[in-house]
Symmetry: C2
């Protein structure tokens, strides 16, 4: 299985060269309304020599829906794209999730390329071929695993990002580093998202780590599930936040909370060292954002988790850290235990000075 | 790549045993309004020991649309199906195409089983993992390749079929036999669809032949394209028939016409023996049905073909027979040649005594 290649040009010249060398006769460039303004001007010249159609979708996770997907598929069809043409996703995780799914489905599969423009996408979402839309109030309920032929990480796009998004994306860098080992965690946890433009190596490390895992288990049958660390609870919190008037949370913000609660679970279920869990949680508090679920929302969160696709039957299954560099997949946790971990975490946050 | 297994029980007892041995904790059975009435009663007892939810879609290719697909996905979600549960397609090609696609997409892929109830599905459509819905007026424009874990061919379902459908399905049996070789063609072309209930071996042969090809090229990169024989023109005729007031044609009826025109093309482009082409076309005339496109519709057909996904750029590419048992894929044909083949074929039919 080809899981796609990763390119990491550091200058605009190098980036432009990568784009000009893309194979394909005709391009369909998918932007959202932000990347159309801020990022498309950077790449437009590179696509000028071959036919190129630009399609713009509204920015925001709330548009990651079947209707938007059908709009893209309709445009591909109207513009007579063929299955050997190339779809290019210029954007964050929402764009690559929905554009990747359109590529997976159009004429039963066309090639696509990811040009991630957010830190979250550069470090995580743009790699690994998981594509999806949300449906029926549940995240990523409809999707496919379909790999990009290339992902090109060009860190200068980060300067177009608000600091809130940069911080939320850094949570995935930190998560990747927890899985990679103590040294990676030390390096990532001591840096800050503001310095990444000058030190893109830390993004590339996170991306390469993910690619290594994905290559060993492209279809998410076992090993790859370690990447769900923080996400079982994180996804529930993210879905919950969609219904709040101060919401929604960014994905990374929800995962920061998810990681905190899952560190507590890990102390109980995989003997994770409590001091280390506390250290992780101290760092994570830098990345949380309102709305944080009150303790009274725990019932809602549990209900949302039972819809999470990593479960079997009634048990909720987690990927939990045992120590830095070692996660255990498929750990079952009863409702009481999850409730206790959430209560401890959420109470702790709400009583922060 | 697991392309799924094929079971061919010949008695109701054997069939029931196959169903009871299906792995899975919970079943989602997809029927159309015909198979719900005529076929579901045959299987209902076999599913009685495990939780089973039945979802019924309207019968007919015209419902093979994104809306119907989203309806199935919504029901899977509402009923809290998990990705280790099993979707069962009880129906013809439309049901297995749309149900297979729902299985491919739900939570990024759940297992499914095909129980084909039409001859077309038993001999062809239920095997090989191609799933799709029609979109924007184009057949199978949105889809995925996602393999059933099992396909169980139980020929007694054929007694629920109108003779018109039985005849149309036999066209795929004949197509498969043309690709399998002279002996297979002799056997299939000398039998008739009416005797299949007593001689199911001929269906099993067609199914096994298709499975052999699919196993060698699951993702339709090269070899598998021989199976498109008759379908490049056939699909265009099928799409055209959707807009006619006497239409639509059944898939096999359109493919019979497609095979006839592509035999003419093959005489010109792959040196197919003219006598053999005439023999095939004589047999095929038994399977055609009104509306047959008039010569004046050829422009429309050409336009529809340019949307066909087997093409690259402006050229139309065909899989053409060179001799029984030998097809050549990717043969380019110019517009003039296709027009000539269509004119000869359609004029011939319209002047039949």
């Amino acid at each position: 299985m080809q899981t796609g290649s990763l390119l990491t040009p550091s200058t605009l010249d190098e980036f432009t060269r990568c784009l000009r060398q893309l194979p394909g006769e005709k391009f369909f460039v998918l932007c959202d309304s932000n990347t159309w303004h801020h990022c498309f001007p950077v790449v437009v010249d590179s696509f000028s020599e071959r036919p190129c159609h630009v399609h713009i979708i509204p920015a925001g996770e709330q548009y990651k829906q079947p209707e938007t997907l059908l709009g893209i598929l309709h445009e591909l069809s109207q513009q007579s794209f063929q299955r050997n043409d190339v779809l290019v996703n210029l954007g964050g995780g929402t764009v690559s999730d929905i554009g990747g799914l359109a590529a997976a489905l159009y004429q039963r599969g066309m090639p696509y390329v990811n040009l991630p423009t957010t830190l979250l996408a550069m470090a995580d979402a743009a790699h690994g071929g998981k594509t999806a839309v949300d449906f029926n109030g549940i995240k990523n309920q409809i999707g496919a695993i379909w790999f990009p032929t290339q992902t090109i990480v060009y860190q200068r796009f980060l300067q177009t990002l608000p600091i809130r998004e940069l911080k939320a994306g850094y949570v995935e860098v930190l998560k990747q580093s927890l899985l990679a080992g103590k040294k990676a965690w030390r390096q990532a946890s001591r840096r800050s998202p503001e310095t990444l433009m000058k030190e893109p190596e830390i993004i590339h490390e996170a991306a390469r780590f993910k690619m290594r895992i994905v290559r060993k288990d492209p279809y998410d049958r076992d090993l790859r599930q370690i990447l769900n660390l923080g996400h079982t609870i994180g996804h529930a919190i993210e879905a919950w936040s969609l219904q709040q008037k101060e919401g929604p949370l960014l994905h990374g913000e929800a995962v920061a909370l998810g990681l905190m609660a899952e560190m507590r679970l890990a102390c109980a279920l995989t003997d994770l060292d409590t001091n280390f869990a506390n250290e992780v949680n101290r760092i994570m508090t830098r990345f949380i954002h309102a709305p944080v679920p009150p303790v009274a929302a725990i019932d809602d969160l549990l209900r949302l988790m039972l819809h999470d696709k990593k479960n079997r039957g009634a048990a909720v299954r987690f990927s939990l850290l045992a120590r830095p560099g070692k996660a255990i997949t498929g750990v079952s946790a009863g409702e009481d235990r999850i409730r206790a971990a959430l209560e401890e975490t959420l109470t702790g946050i709400h009583t922060l000075p």
